[in-house]
């Protein structure tokens, strides 16, 4: 059934179709509509779930972790300050190997208060063991939420599905909402099949004091699961495509085959960059686009295969790792390290705190990079008004 819905409601439908069993959440703009609609689903019986209306995001994540440890399928949603407040427990979810799914609406961190989009909230949580997916459209948001449960439950890691504040969260687009029966064919019914769970018939202690003799290997295994998640995410996306007719890949190259310059984007900037690629092609410039959908694990193999086709790679970061540069740019440089042929990498920062990123901005970025042999700085700031 096609419906015109916001990105937030696309998340809600995804969590409902995935048959979430325990939801714990706290209101925060611009996420709140996600859990409002889920509350309605629970109240009307459209979703058979326990909804714990907690007193903080820290408790939202803690409740999801504890419920997940019993084998329940769990979901929460947050944004910005809320995600930062969860930080301690985000570590815990990954360390406990529990496949909690979280939707984060990218919102800039205070101060000053901002409700508008940038990626610093979610990228600050990139080193914890969570998988991260950045979405371009509302359809992709809903589909990624459903996929997230399957991927997380296979590799036993929590998954963060990320969408831009307002540009997706509050913008309505047509979304195909699949029949429950199709989703049930794709995603096994809960409870989640955990190797160990909280069970009075099979009692264990979870998360006890762990000496240096054991701790190291537990962390090693998290990394192994991240490695495994690359292949799992591809396979799950393929299965999703077979059953539901849509697939996204972990990255999406667009007109990259003969490109001399490749733009690298994530989130909704991708949609704008697509238009620019097409118009640049009309002008005769061989521009391509690589959309990064899965950022953790980093699709290193794909980056190394696709990006060296071009002489120039232009990374557009809607985030800043203070004291260094844009996060995607750093990681792309790292991924390409050691290749015999290295493209020249331009790292642009743009749109921090929700400032609009227009097609004209991206055109000018392409124009600059096309005409410039090498960037004169590791950060190229776009649109700073001083």
């Amino acid at each position: 059934m096609k419906k015109v819905i916001t990105g937030n409601h696309a998340v809600s439908y995804g969590a409902q179709l995935a048959r979430s069993q325990v939801i714990a959440a706290y209101p925060i703009t611009p996420q709140t509509q996600i859990v409002e609609l889920l509350s309605e689903f629970c109240a009307s019986g459209k979703l058979n779930a326990k909804f714990i209306k907690v007193e903080s995001e820290h408790s939202a994540m803690s409740a999801c972790i504890a419920a997940a440890a019993t084998g329940a399928r769990t979901f929460t949603a947050t944004s910005s300050q809320g995600l930062a407040l969860m930080h301690e427990m985000l570590h815990w979810a990954a360390g406990a190997r529990l496949p909690v799914v979280l939707a984060n609406v990218n919102r800039a961190m205070g101060p000053g208060w901002s409700v508008w989009t940038d990626q610093n909230d979610s990228l600050s949580q990139r080193d914890l063991g969570w998988l991260q997916f950045y979405c371009e459209s509302n359809q992709e948001v809903m589909d990624t939420v459903i996929q997230a449960f399957k991927i997380g439950e296979k590799v036993l890691l929590p998954v963060m599905v990320i969408l831009d504040a307002f540009v997706l969260s509050h913008t309505s687009e047509p979304v195909d909402i699949p029949d429950q029966e199709l989703v049930d064919r794709f995603l096994p019914l809960p409870p989640v099949n955990l190797p160990y769970k909280l069970d009075v018939e099979d009692p264990h202690a979870f998360g006890a004091l762990t000496s240096p003799d054991h701790y190291y290997e537990i962390r090693f295994k998290i990394q192994k699961a991240q490695d495994e998640a690359v292949q799992v995410a591809k396979e799950v996306d393929e299965e999703f495509k077979n059953i539901l007719g849509r697939g996204y890949g972990i990255v999406e190259p667009y007109r990259c085959d003969d490109a001399k310059l490749i733009l690298v984007t994530s989130g909704t900037i991708t949609g704008t960059a697509r238009i620019v690629v097409d118009s640049e092609r009309v002008k005769g410039r061989k521009v391509g686009l690589l959309k990064i959908r899965m950022f953790r694990p980093t699709p290193i193999k794909e980056l190394r295969e696709i990006l060296p086709r071009a002489q120039k790679v232009v990374v557009i970061d809607r985030n800043i790792s203070f004291g260094h540069s844009g996060v995607f740019c750093q990681e792309i440089k790292s991924a390409l390290y050691g290749l015999p042929v290295q493209p020249t990498i331009f790292g642009f920062i743009i749109g921090i705190g929700g400032r609009d990123v227009t097609a004209q901005d991206i055109e000018e970025i392409v124009d600059y990079a096309s005409k410039t042999e090498k960037p004169d700085s590791i950060i190229l700031w776009r649109g700073v008004r001083l």
């Binding site: 007193e55 903080s56 329940a72 009692p203 264990h204």
Partner: protein, 293 residues
């Protein structure tokens, strides 16, 4: 009246508590009352150690270790996870220290109590951060020495009254108990198990190490605390119906309770008098609430 303590043990020898640990003994009694269809939540506290490092585990029921401030919400989450799977007969018990309850965990505890989530929350109160080496908490009593309230400037604020805070949430059941009265303790745990909603049990649990006291005084000091009205045994249903479970015929002076404990050895006569006055004042307040003259 003869009171039988269940013979069956759900806590095994080999745990790593200090000698004379009130928290260890209290868990043993609590599990005797609750039985094995129980899941225990343990935030950062002495019990994070006592149950044993991985792969050891001293209790029969499953234990879910969790972050310091999450004892209550983890229990809410576990209960929700079990309920949605139809496993509705399992008792979930949070077992937290005074720091995890009165300080860092009070937000999540208050939230769970307001929602009346169905679990038993236990605060085993040894009146300081003992696991990190005896630092003051908001449960440390006025005048006590700790490593962050040295004898020259002992704690200058009274103990936070967590039981009254929980009673103010109008939860179905809140009670105080201590291990010198195992019959009282077991009865209160059984009662808590039989009630749906948030139950709060405040256990007076001495720490001989932190209280600078001989470990063999563990039971005696609990009895002195009750008989001096420093720690009255009472319970309250739905925030209204108070019952004082033990009214000393003639309360003993607080000095007898304070004397065996090195943490109070610096107290002057005037300070002891101040403590006696506060204890008398609090006891009268409690009696008024309970309608006892």
């Amino acid at each position: 009246m003869k009171f039988e303590i269940p013979q069956k043990e759900y806590m095994y020898p080999g745990h790593v508590a200090c000698p004379g640990c009130g928290g260890a003994y209290s868990m043993r009694m609590a599990l005797k009352a609750l039985g094995e269809r129980t899941i225990i939540v343990i935030p950062a506290c002495c019990w994070s150690i006592i149950d044993g490092p991985f792969p050891l585990h001293a209790c029969k029921p499953p234990v879910f270790h969790t972050a310091f401030e999450t004892a209550a919400i983890a229990a809410s989450g576990i209960k929700a996870g079990l309920d949605i799977q139809g496993k509705t007969d399992i008792t979930v018990m949070s077992w937290a220290g005074d720091g995890g309850t009165l300080d860092i965990g009070i937000q999540a505890l208050s939230g769970a109590a307001e929602r009346n989530d169905d679990f038993i929350y236990v605060c085993y109160d040894n009146e300081a951060y003992m696991n990190t080496g005896i630092q003051r908490s908001s449960a440390t009593p006025w005048g006590a020495w700790t490593t962050t309230t040295p004898a020259e400037t002992p704690k200058s604020e009274p103990k936070k009254n967590i039981t009254e805070i929980m009673i103010a949430h109008r939860i179905p059941y809140a009670a105080t108990t201590t291990l010198a009265y195992p019959d009282d303790m077991i009865r209160k745990f059984k009662k808590a198990k039989s009630i749906k909603g948030t139950k709060f049990i405040h256990i007076f649990a001495p720490c001989p190490t932190g209280w600078k006291m001989a470990p063999d005084l563990m039971v005696k000091i609990c009895r002195l605390a009750v008989d001096s009205n420093v720690f009255p045994l009472y319970e309250c249903e739905y925030g209204i119906h108070y019952t004082i479970n033990h009214i000393p015929k003639k309360p003993i002076p607080v000095e007898e309770y304070l004397k065996p404990q090195g943490r109070f050895s610096h107290l002057t006569k005037a300070m002891i008098e101040h403590i006696q006055k506060s204890v008398n004042f609090e006891w009268e307040l409690l009696k008024q609430r309970a309608g006892v003259s």
